[in-house]
């Protein structure tokens, strides 16, 4: 087991470091570092988006949820696909047309204000960290369980690799690691699904029937995990709207030349990712049937090991060589998945700190290209160190809660501000600051008094606060803007911004 695991891990590691070396030699400018040169093809960006979005939460989390709770896991999975309709239709093109490297670029372009940029930066960094920490913790747990390295060491290794990938290879390395990982993930998923189908004579309803006879029809019903009747819709809203507020997803649109390529890359993602999410339901049900819900529950992590355990079973079961090989392979892919996502998050956060805070807010843009690149690389090291520290501190914390929180904050603090900046003439800096503040406070506050933190004594009944915090975020932004005096110059400026957002030219 150890030999195979080590061999497979080291091979994948070698591949990703090779990619980083190749990318580092091509990274000479800020455009290379933040946007991979800005000229990726739709296919490349599509695969990279898929690699970014098909995170360990999807790979392990969705399959685990289906294995333990049935249909609720499928509701999670399909939400991850639908989430890209608002991005495709509302956000992607205007963002690409009005920003340079970060989300705050768009807000700052509209408002021409450092305060607005700063507020947007806060929203971005909080969301990124909330998303990053559970990835680190997840990596720590996963590697610990499958390879036997202590948690702290695993977290440190992931953090160190992430620093190397991004500091040296920037967005180019990140992109190609994401592409490679997307391909590996798709192949794994297809192999698993074909194998499972074959075991049921290529009649998938047989799988449903088997699971139903073992666990009863209630298992296939909704409500086993999302127990409150408003939970599904709050989750749905969170995905549908929060994804369009996730900086590490949005900055991927800066890697392409124009709106057409951006759109086409989203189509690639929606088919790749959508297909993959569909497969997680089959894989999860198969895990429930072949491995058993009890075994999955006993393995800990809230079902996160359902897919690896199924792979082990299909390889020959625990203790067999085939099982060990399959398990190692799946673990290595999960590891690569996490690395790809944390790299993307690090590029996004580096953009916020180096490009937004240092270059634009502090220095007002008066920084040479060379210095900008240097600061970008330095910030990566700082972010990596912070991520390692927070990851270590997060040991034992229910990481699924943090991921939900990240998307909820994105839905409440980032999405309203982005949309209003792009589409509302009357919006202004005060609105941006108010929107981010109210969105942040309400989403974090409601999550803190919700079931995820307070369990059965929760004051707020929903796990996902979005249903309430997103409207509050919008309200805060709108009221904040209306309370500020009208600014005729800014409103006329909106015309220019609006024109550029939809035509790609000022």
């Amino acid at each position: 087991m150890t030999f195979f695991t080590l061999a497979i891990f080291l091979s994948i590691l070698g591949l990703t470091l090779g990619i980083t070396y190749w990318a580092a030699r091509r990274t000479h400018s800020t455009s290379d570092f933040y946007a991979a040169g800005g000229d990726l093809s739709a296919t490349q960006n599509g695969f990279a988006l898929a690699g970014d979005w098909m995170s360990a939460a999807a790979f392990l989390g969705f399959t685990g949820l289906v294995a333990l709770y049935g249909m609720d896991g499928s509701l999670y999975a399909v939400g991850a696909l639908v989430a890209f309709l608002p991005i495709l239709i509302i956000v992607a093109e205007p963002l690409r047309n009005t920003g340079k490297y970060t989300v705050a670029d768009v807000i700052a372009f509209r408002m021409q204000s450092r305060h607005a940029r700063m507020a947007s930066v806060v929203g971005s960094i909080v969301v990124n960290l909330a998303y990053l920490v559970p990835q680190m913790a997840g990596a720590g747990v996963l590697i610990g369980l499958l390879v036997g390295i202590p948690y702290i060491v695993s977290v440190a290794i992931v953090g160190a690799l992430m620093i190397v990938y991004v500091a040296f290879g920037g967005m180019l390395a990140t992109t190609w690691v994401q592409i490679v990982k997307a391909v590996l993930l798709m192949v794994t998923g297809v192999v698993l699904v074909v194998w499972i189908s074959a075991l049921f004579g290529f009649n998938i309803s047989g799988l449903f029937g088997a699971v139903e006879s073992e666990y009863g029809a209630e298992f296939l019903s909704p409500g086993n995990y999302l127990t409150h009747p408003l939970d599904p819709i709050s989750l749905a809203l969170s995905f549908a709207v929060g994804t369009a507020g996730l900086p590490h997803v949005l900055i991927r649109f800066y890697t392409v030349r124009n709106a057409t390529v951006a759109r086409n890359s989203i189509i690639w993602l929606m088919f790749l990712g959508g297909f993959f999410f569909m497969m997680t339901t089959i894989i999860g049900l198969a895990a429930a049937h072949f491995v058993g819900r009890d075994a999955i529950l006993a393995s800990g992590g809230g079902g996160n090991l359902a897919l690896p355990l199924l792979a082990e079973y299909l390889g020959g079961g625990p203790g067999s060589i085939g099982g060990a090989v399959f398990l190692s392979f799946v673990a290595a892919i999960a590891f690569t998945t996490i690395l790809a996502v944390v790299s993307g998050l690090t590029v996004a956060t580096s953009g916020a700190i180096a490009h937004d805070v240092y270059v634009n807010i502090i220095k007002g843009g008066a920084v040479t290209e060379k210095e900008q690149l240097r600061v970008a690389r330095l910030s990566t090291v700082g972010i990596g160190a912070t991520a390692i520290l927070l990851g270590i501190l997060a040991e034992g914390v229910n990481v699924a809660v943090l991921v939900i929180l990240a998307i909820a904050i994105a839905a409440s603090a980032n999405f309203p501000v982005i949309v209003l900046s792009l589409f509302w003439r009357r919006f202004n800096t005060r609105g941006v600051v108010a929107g981010v503040t109210v969105g942040l406070v309400s989403s974090v506050g409601l999550a803190a008094i919700g079931p995820a933190v307070m369990g059965a004594d929760a004051i707020f009944p929903l796990v996902n606060p979005t249903l309430l915090s997103m409207p509050l975020g919008f309200a805060g932004a709108i009221i904040g803007a209306l309370l500020a005096p009208r600014d005729a110059v800014a409103e006329r400026r909106f015309d220019d911004v609006f024109f550029r957002a939809h035509t790609g030219q000022s």
Partner: protein, 110 residues
């Protein structure tokens, strides 16, 4: 004509160009239905999941119940909407955006 006319003509903004106005109109006409149907259907299924779980548990295709069928349909619907939207965008939006940009640069030269 009074040479001391104190009210100059307001600068004509790019957004007033007919090509741009049409682009915005076409985009709006595509966006609302696409979002409404796509996201709306998903939200509707989510509401049903919360408030009518027994309905979604009804077996439809052998042991596969209505809920899973609706979820499968959500995938297909999302894909269809995305493809149709992008097709229209690639054909129509880009052509209009090009025209709007052209009109804008002529305005600058004038």
């Amino acid at each position: 004509m009074n040479n001391n006319d104190p009210s100059p003509q307001p600068r004509k903004s790019n957004v007033d160009e007919p090509a741009f106005r049409q682009l915005v109109r076409v985009k709006r006409r595509s966006a609302w239905p696409a979002l409404g149907v796509g996201v709306g259907f998903y939200l509707a299924v989510s509401l049903l999941a919360g408030y009518a779980p027994s309905l979604l548990s009804t077996p439809v295709l052998g042991p596969i119940n209505l809920g899973f069928v609706l979820i499968l349909f959500t995938y297909v619907l999302t894909w269809v909407i995305a493809v149709l939207y992008v097709r229209r965008a690639n054909r129509t939006f880009d052509r209009l955006a090009e025209a709007a940009r052209g009109a804008a640069s002529k305005e600058i030269q004038a």
